[in-house]
Symmetry: C2
Subunit: 221 residues, 2 copies
DNA sequence: CGACTTGTTGAGTGAACTCAAGGAGGGTGG
DNA sequence: CCACCCTCCTTGAGTTCACTCAACAAGTCG
């Protein structure tokens, strides 16, 4: 296809066809290869990106190179809210990614002009804030097992599911570990524990969730 | 004074006097004693609160009683964004607190009606989102010393300062520990370490920051 | 085919946690 | 005004569990 669309812009609620077309005109389709950096923290944010296809890891860095993955962006997500002169986060592609690039000021104008778009922006921010709060609760208080089960549960909810039980995990263990604030080795051992307990079953590029009801309900509401 | 005001609603940017008066009319002043609960997670959120005086701890609970303090709300802050039927967080007073109570739907209408208020709401959400991201980075990757210095630095920036160096800490050690995701004993020992290194000096209800420039700059931007 | 990345496993260490006790206010009631 | 209680903070001792370091297996890509 010659031109990437920017599907499911904000989940269920849609813009009017007319507004959608206008938004499409503002978007420049861009492709990124696996591992390629899309935005870098601290750089001038003259452009902002929305994900069309693929998965993007969004992260922040500490001075000494340690980094923490804030979230994994899916199709329909913006990498960050178009506020501030500079990017507040870094982001790079996990696997091949198609994205829509917007000129920041144009997108801002469009948001200003469209009542629906403004509402969607606010709702999106609130949604992300809620997720951040759950994440903080987990990072602060959760033991590794809880963190991983909660992550799998929330990731499952966000994914377009192939099946009820199978959860695709396109990102590396390292990325998941960096998201949950633990060492990769600890993550591996935690996966092993959950598998021993018959809570999950590891498969290629994902896990099958067994006993989904009780064990993966934490942090779900 | 008979009626509490809701000062500095969103920091520097102010509403027009007319809008401010209208907002004031929607607000019911309420007082809370030290330790008193203001809102509880999961309860119907027919009313929302803004802090007028005092400090409020905003937290989330896990099923087994563990809790994590998401943030400390200061005068001018709303406890949460007026979205959703139910409260997403719990909050209680640290010391005596004066608050403004709003009917949720009335406040929402007002936000909808006022262009300035809408903008302030978005800005406020973005600000909180940014703080959440910094907090996640710290919770995930920071060692206790970094976490504490970063907390003191960010708290200093938010406080109306008595002096350049003194930072008032009205909340308990336990609250700070629950905010940073560590045991109270670890926090005490971390305070001791920082004092030994001449980075801070403990005082009554606060600390004096020595050598503020270098040591407290992390997570400041 | 070889170099590199990624995931897993093992061993050992260390740091933060738990449990426990003691001291220092602060508030209340006699 | 004092005695008492209670909460909060601190300190100590011991343990646990996640981290680090290291080696190895398994893909993956040139």
């Amino acid at each position: 296809m010659a031109r990437d669309s920017f599907p499911d812009l904000f989940g269920k609620v849609a813009l009017s066809p007319r507004e959608l077309r206008k938004l499409q005109r503002l978007a420049t389709p861009v492709r990124f290869r696996s591992g390629q950096q899309i935005v870098a923290e601290g750089e001038i944010a003259s452009e902002v990106y929305g994900v069309s296809q693929g998965v993007v890891r969004v992260y922040k860095k500490l001075a000494d190179g340690r980094h923490h993955v804030l979230r994994f962006a899916l199709p329909g997500d913006f990498l960050e809210w178009p506020r501030g002169e500079r990017h507040g986060v870094s982001a790079d592609a996990i696997g091949a990614v198609s994205a829509s690039r917007f000129a920041r000021c144009e997108l801002l104008e469009f948001i200003q002009a469209s009542r629906a778009m403004k509402r969607l922006t606010i709702d999106g921010a609130a949604e992300e804030l809620k997720r951040s709060q759950d994440q903080m609760l987990l990072l602060g208080r959760g033991v590794p097992e809880e963190q991983l089960t909660a992550f799998l549960a929330s990731w499952r909810k966000r994914l377009p599911r192939r099946s009820d039980r199978f959860v695709s995990l396109p990102m590396s263990r390292r990325d998941i570990a960096a998201h949950l604030g633990m060492a990769p080795e600890t993550l591996t051992r935690t996966f092993a524990k959950l598998e021993q307990r018959r809570i999950i079953r590891a498969e290629a590029d994902g896990v099958e969730l067994l006993d989904t009801g009780r064990n993966l309900s934490s942090a779900e509401k």
